[in-house]
């Protein structure tokens, strides 16, 4: 493995790990706040217990997300010093604001987790909401920085020099809105389905049914709304990519030959040597329509992109197809679920519904990882689109494969521990939060 591939792999690994924890860390506070709100309004202790259980999850995910985020802020320089030296002053604005948002989140979390019995109950609730909002803001800001790499704005690039730098313009580049919107909704859908899936499994296993069913309903509702909104934001994103990064669109959709009335290609194995996509389903004119709103608008293909500027089509196309397929599947479950809670209440506890949600547990996060692969791999060979190549940014430090192996080992063991801890949290629900199963009246007091 050469240094460059190792650096890219290490970055991908670190971001791929961080993205899961930060999504959960920014979305779960909203579930927690809803459940907390129901408890404060109704006094139903079931919701108090759900809130407490979820807040433990938030604490674990926040801590993990915070350290993996800290690592990333160093890794940018450790792996891509040449990139950071040039890009730091230009796209740094959202990072400096994100520092504030993240700080506020940490402070609010301190109040929320440790102030439960010490402060006014609505104050504590509000700090929980602040955790969610500032987490969401952090996410939006970080994505805005990433969007700048796709649509570098706010400077003039003349004779290899970056001049007339305007960090505000850079932050509000043309890609930030569609990317941030798509990512936020994705975070809600992914976390919603993951949380709902776990609770569905517990209901299915007939463990603490009341507790898990109530928790399931909150998470599933968030998931359903997000999954229904996501195709709309996906459409905005696709049109944006078509306009700003035609090469990425070509890679996503496996457009090897430029065509007017380009077909939408589903599946298939793209072969850049022959310019053919084998074994694919083609829907004539649909890609032109989806990308440009016109059945006959030409879509730029690989034949019009210089060879050294073509992103890897196989990875990008497959990742994109995986994301869309999972998105559609989640959309169908979401529509079904909304029909159920609005019209067909009797289906709510049907085993097949629970099974469907259990099946969907990892789907949101697989889609998130796939979508993120699309945006990153689809930008290659550029680290700053059209300005700086990724290969030119890599650190001169030798031996990066070793740190990559090391980080792989660390992140795999960390993920294993987190899964193990969640398993124990869930196993202990009967003891700590909901003893209706064994009807023992032992006081389920809080851990600290």
């Amino acid at each position: 493995m050469d240094n460059f591939i190792a650096a890219r792999s290490q970055m991908a690994l670190s971001l791929g790990f961080h993205i899961i924890f930060s999504c959960i860390g920014m979305v779960m506070p909203f579930f927690m706040a809803v459940s907390h709100f129901i408890y404060l309004k109704t006094g139903n202790t079931l919701y108090k217990n759900i809130t407490r259980a979820w807040s433990k999850g938030v604490a674990i995910f926040f801590a993990t997300g915070a350290v993996s985020g800290t690592v990333l802020s160093f890794e940018l320089g450790l792996l891509w010093p040449a990139f950071m030296e040039k890009a730091g002053p230009i796209f740094g604005m959202p990072f400096s604001l994100e520092g504030t948002a993240f700080f506020i989140e940490a402070i609010a979390l301190g109040f929320y987790l440790y102030g439960w019995d010490k402060f006014n109950k609505w104050f504590v609730w509000a700090t929980g909401v602040v955790v969610g909002i500032s987490g969401l803001l952090s996410g939006i800001l970080v994505v805005a920085a990433n969007a700048w790499m796709n649509n570098p704005k706010g400077f003039d690039f003349i004779n290899g020099e970056y001049i007339n730098i305007d960090p505000i313009k850079a932050m509000f580049n043309d890609a930030w809105f569609s990317q941030a919107l798509h990512m936020c909704i994705a975070a809600f859908a992914a976390t919603g389905f993951a949380v709902a899936g776990v609770h569905a499994f517990m209901v299915y296993r007939k463990k603490n049914i009341r507790f898990h069913a109530a928790a399931f309903k909150i998470a599933a509702t968030f998931a359903a709304v997000a999954a229904i909104l996501q195709p709309l934001s996906g459409d905005i994103s696709a049109k944006n990519v078509a306009r700003l990064q035609p090469a990425k669109l070509a890679a996503m959709e496996a457009v090897l030959k430029t065509e007017a009335a380009a077909p939408l290609i589903i599946g298939g194995i793209p072969d850049t040597a022959t310019g053919q996509v084998n074994y694919a389903i083609r829907l004539p004119g649909l890609l032109s329509f989806m990308a440009y709103g016109d059945m006959h608008h030409p879509v730029k293909g690989y034949d019009q992109i210089p060879k050294e500027e073509q992103p890897p089509v196989m990875v990008t196309h497959f990742s994109f197809q995986i994301m869309v397929a999972l998105g559609i599947f989640m959309l169908l479950i979401a529509v079904l679920y909304l029909i159920i809670i609005l019209k067909k209440k009797s289906w709510q506890n049907k085993t097949w519904l629970l099974r469907l949600f259990m099946l969907a547990t990892p789907m949101g996060f697989i889609a998130v990882e796939a979508g993120w692969t699309v945006t990153e791999v689809g930008r290659q060979p550029w680290i700053i689109y059209g300005i700086m190549k990724t290969r030119d940014a890599v650190t001169p430090m030798p031996g990066i494969p070793y740190t990559f192996y090391l980080f792989t080992a660390v992140y795999i063991s960390l993920s294993a521990i987190v899964v193990f801890m969640l398993y124990r949290q869930i196993k202990m629900v009967g003891k700590l939060y909901d003893n209706s199963d064994n009807e023992a009246l032992t006081f389920s007091h809080d851990l600290h």
């Binding site: 985020g69 002053p89 740094g92 604005m93 301190g110 987790l113 730098i165």
Partner: protein
């Protein structure tokens, strides 16, 4: 605006050293606590830093963001030359942050706690050790912008007596801060005496480590004394730190602990001030005799203006909220103690 940004950089480092340092120190103390007292140390520490734990570590992120937005050349040079110690420090940060959360939030209390504890305490030692090593490397004049030789430029630029001595000094200071902060948190006379003893040990350790730094600087021909005593700020801050040391020992032996945290904080502040003031605005001394300067290698005007504005606005939100967090938990801690 450049000076606003530099001030924020300094303040973030300062707060990270004080609060983050005390957090590290608490872990170090736990490592060096006898087995039967470990649990008590752990509980005291948890009460003291639990609520502000995450916030204490944000200062590092703020500092690093200021560095890469405002002083990209310095950030890029350092993160290339210091690749290896930074990686070790990062592993320490990962291990520590997660182990701290895991040991508190694990729903089942069993042997896994021992695993979390061990990871937590050892990473509490390793992380500040490497922070200190990296800090030391900035003035040893071994960092180059064109690294060629692996051992020379990526390893011996930080693996040398002086840097390691600075690392040990940082560890000792962290332990000292933690011990002093924890005296006030102790419940009961016995625990209080235990933390006073720890504070004394840590202070002696800091003194020895400080001497090591001095000898290492002689050995490596680093004119440390000339630097410190060549300017009035250095002389005044080192004198103030030494005088307050005498006062500190007097108060420690008398068991008068109320003012101790302020005094310890003051000492550490003076040390940081003297060592940063010496070189200002030069922040990294390079191998070729050149340097990286905060006043010469900054980003362009608009970036610095925007960064300064973001920091000022941010601090309007952060500082009151942080203050209120500290204040209200202190108040409620005092109430439970009374």
């Amino acid at each position: 605006m450049l000076y606003v940004v530099i001030t924020f950089l300094w303040v973030s480092l300062w707060f990270y050293l004080l609060f983050g340092g005390a957090d590290f120190g608490a872990g170090i103390l736990e490592l060096f606590t006898r087995a039967h007292n470990k649990d008590r140390t752990r509980r005291t520490m948890y009460r003291a830093i639990g609520p502000i734990w995450e916030a204490n570590h944000m200062w590092l992120i703020i500092a690093i963001v200021i560095l890469f937005v405002g002083f990209p050349k310095i950030y890029a040079t350092m993160s290339t030359a210091m690749h290896i110690p930074l990686i070790i420090m990062l592993l320490g940060i990962i291990a520590r942050g997660t182990a701290f959360a895991f040991r508190h939030y694990d729903a089942v209390v069993d042997d896994m706690q021992q695993v979390y504890n061990r990871i937590f305490t050892w990473s509490s030692l390793i992380t500040p050790l490497f922070l200190g090593i990296i800090a030391g490397s900035t003035v040893t004049g071994k960092i180059t912008q064109q690294p060629k030789d692996f051992l020379e430029d990526y390893v011996f630029s930080w693996l040398n007596w002086f840097c390691v001595a600075v690392g040990c000094f940082t560890v000792a200071i962290a332990a000292f801060l933690a011990a002093v902060f924890l005296i006030g948190e102790a419940q009961g006379e016995k625990d209080k005496r235990r933390f006073i003893a720890k504070a004394k040990t840590a202070n002696i350790a800091a003194f020895i480590a400080g001497a090591l730094v001095f000898f290492a600087s002689l050995y490596q021909h680093i004119p440390l004394l000339d630097w410190i005593f060549a300017n009035p700020v250095g002389i005044i801050s080192i004198t103030a730190a030494s005088l307050s040391l005498i006062l500190l020992w007097y108060l420690l032996s008398k068991g008068k602990v109320k003012i101790l945290p302020v005094l310890a904080g003051f000492q550490v502040t003076m040390i940081l001030l003297s060592v940063t003031y010496i070189h200002f605005p030069k922040i990294v001394l390079l191998k070729d005799g050149g340097y990286l300067s905060l006043l010469e290698h900054e980003a362009t005007g608009k970036t610095i203006d925007a960064l300064g504005a973001a920091l000022l606005i941010g601090s309007l939100f952060i500082l009151p909220a942080l203050f209120y967090l500290l204040y209200s938990f202190r108040k409620s801690a005092n109430r439970t103690k009374a």
